[in-house]
Amino acid sequence: MAVARNAPEPGKPGEERYYDIAVRQMRQNGAPDAVWEGTGIWATPRGHGYMGDYHDDDRLVAGLGNPAFEEYRAELIGGWDSPSGSHPARHALEHHHLSNCSFMSQFRQLRIIQPVAVDRSVVYTYSFRMKHAPARMFRDTVAFANVVNGTGSWVLTDDLEVYERIQHGLGAGAPNGSTSAAATGAMSTSRAPRGATGTSEVFIRGQMRAWLDYMTRDA
């Protein structure tokens, strides 16, 4: 992030350069506390949790004013101007996060996380070339995949190294335990309670509650 903050400023819409997507992505990872605190996080009764997206169109600048994106949006939505945003095509342009998959519509990418063991998961990443979309859109898709998913990715190699070191430390057996704690804040009483902030540990407590329920149900 520190390096990206000192990088050349990304070009204006229509004047982008290849490195812009990389610089933007790295800068976004340095979202201020207010963004994280304002991001929704929910827990379901059976132990799943899910988080809202910290991206928005203001932060993903390419989504607003980018000529290729606007051309494609016009192709899909045409003159649709419903305040409810219920046009089916509009959903293709928004971000949707489910518990084990995320759709990065800005760059036409779907990620699915498949847990394969208690200590490992497989992340499948699919990049799409959209029908009738400007060629520039797919070039951005490839650039994004290089930056975020590539074996030599700036972002991924950092993340994986951190995960590996944590795993290595925990696997060494030396620590007595690890602590991960954050306030839950006020929680709603709905079936999918939401933490008061984006850093709430409501999902951890949800997992423990579900585990306790499974372990004691027949006791």
Binding site: V3, P8, Y19, A145, N146, H168
Partner: protein, 119 residues
């Protein structure tokens, strides 16, 4: 560094690494940055270059091919890489400057660990 063998276009196909000059500079700065904790300690590397051959000249550039064997020691296991390399060189007085470098790993389509160093 293409992902697929025989990659024709780095803008239409994913790469293991595809940096322009700006990204290359940022990558080096990132490696050296004191707060890039995941990059520390810096990996130790060794490069052995062989079979250097001139492939031709075009547009004021000299194309040079070579083979590369690279090794690195990250914090844990050792990694070895083999690659075919092509440089495009531009004459600068009595020497040459690298205008473009392409590294085709022999196992580019195989399973690779994160590649956080430049080969």
């Amino acid at each position: 560094m293409p992902l697929e063998q025989g990659q024709k276009d780095p803008y239409e196909t994913s790469s293991i690494i595809h940096d322009d000059r700006t990204l290359l500079e940022l990558r080096v700065k990132q490696l050296r940055h004191p707060r890039a904790h995941a990059r520390q300690p810096l990996a130790r590397t060794v490069h052995q270059v062989g079979n250097v051959v001139e492939l031709g000249r075009a547009n004021g550039e000299l194309r040079v091919g070579s083979t590369l064997h690279g090794g690195r020691i990250p914090p844990r296991e050792q990694r070895l890489y083999g690659a075919l390399v092509e440089h495009r060189l531009r004459q600068d007085g009595a020497t040459f400057r690298i205008a473009h470098k392409r590294v085709d790993l022999v196992n580019s389509e195989g399973e690779l660990d994160g590649l956080a160093v430049l080969l």
